[in-house]
């Protein structure tokens, strides 16, 4: 056995280990998502379908909480799409690294989310002829897919078993869960202004437009601020 092979075996074990622990961390969100889905009025199969088919946490949370707050199906769908735009950027970044085609490409695309992309990009692209990056992406994507869906099922089933969600504080848990999702994303003053701007627009519009629309309107803040700050960079 040569040195490269030994090094690769070591690296491989570490990558797979990290992928597994990320999967378990994400499963915590999965339980909350499953609980939220059934609280929002979705059936267990519908909640599961979101985790299996949509498989992008922030979009899933957005869709069900828009429905939970009384928004129409259409506003909920559009909000989930807007939230999913960043995945396009992720798969653009990952495609040349993964070198997939045909059915492999279609599976890789579905597994392209925050965690798998971050893990894939965290490896040295040149290491082991790109095998480290590819393994990190696939191992993380698959481990998150498996545990996210398992956790969704556990969350969905356990909430269906309890009575009034409000008496368990589940409505507050939804707000806190969404807050915990956005918290680490706010890294600058601009991010913070966008967060407050989005929140204020949504609250100001709540009494005057149908539920769901206020959240969509908040996208305008991101578009305007993104336009202005992006133009300075270009």
């Amino acid at each position: 056995m040569n040195t490269t092979q030994t090094e690769w075996n070591l690296a491989r074990r570490q990558i797979v280990g990290n992928a597994a622990s990320i999967g378990f961390a994400v499963a915590m969100y999965g339980v909350s998502f499953g609980a939220l889905g059934t609280t929002a009025g979705l059936s267990i199969p519908q909640t599961m379908a979101l985790s299996l088919l949509m498989f992008t946490g922030a979009s899933q949370f957005t869709l069900v909480s828009t429905l939970a707050s009384g928004g129409t199906a259409l506003t909920a769908v559009i909000a989930s799409w807007l939230m999913g735009t960043r995945n396009a950027a992720y798969s653009m970044r990952m495609t040349p690294i993964l070198k997939t085609s045909g059915p492999g490409r279609l599976v890789a695309v579905q597994l392209t989310i925050d965690e798998s992309t971050a893990m894939g990009l965290a490896q040295d692209e040149e290491a082991f002829e790109g095998r480290a990056s590819r393994l990190a992406f696939w191992a993380t994507g698959l481990s998150v897919y498996l545990l996210w869906n398992l956790a969704t099922f556990i969350g969905a089933v356990s909430v269906s078993a309890i009575g009034d969600p409000k008496s368990f504080g589940l409505d507050a848990a939804i707000a806190a869960g969404l807050f915990a999702l956005v918290w680490p994303q706010i890294k600058s003053r601009t991010d913070l202004s966008v967060a407050f701007g989005g929140a204020l627009i949504a609250l100001a519009l709540t009494p005057v437009v149908p539920p769901g629309v206020p959240v969509l309107a908040a996208a305008i803040v991101a578009i305007i601020v993104g336009w202005v700050t992006g133009r300075k960079l270009s």
Binding site: M28, V31, S32, G41, L50, M54, A58, S59, T62, L63, S65, S69, G70, V77, W81, L82, M83, G84, T85, N87, A88, A89, Y90, S91, M92, T95, V109, T112, F168, G169, L170, A172, A173, A175, A176, G177, A180, L181, V182, W183, Q185, V194, A195, G197, G198, A199, A202, L203, T206, P207, P210, P211, P214, A218, A219, A222, V225, G230, R231, S234
Partner: protein
């Protein structure tokens, strides 16, 4: 209607992932597009937090969710894991309601 939302939402999200793998890199590499894609989740999630905390259908209300979110904020400042942040908020709201201190 629920199935429509689930399937249309999922189809669109898959399409977005797929589009990224086929469009020319320079489109998404433009600073304006990159900035907007980065900021969209921040504005949408913040709007959702606000609505989930202060809105009941089309009216703005102050109930047990507000102190629960305050408790969650403190937990987040101390870098508490996600599941605990969610539990702290749920327990706060549930306790306030149980003792009749908030709606």
């Amino acid at each position: 209607m629920m199935w429509f939302a689930v399937l249309a939402g999922a189809a669109g999200c898959y399409a977005l992932k797929y589009v990224g793998s086929i469009i020319p890199a320079h489109i998404l590499e433009q600073p304006i597009v990159k900035r907007i894609v980065l900021l969209l989740p921040i504005s949408l999630l913040s709007a959702l937090v606000a609505v989930q905390t202060f809105a009941t259908s089309q009216s703005l209300t102050l109930d047990a969710r507000v102190p629960a979110l305050a408790a969650a904020t403190v937990a987040l400042r101390f870098k508490t894991p996600f599941i605990l942040v969610v539990l702290i908020a749920a327990v706060t709201a549930a306790a306030l309601r149980y003792f009749g201190l908030a709606a």
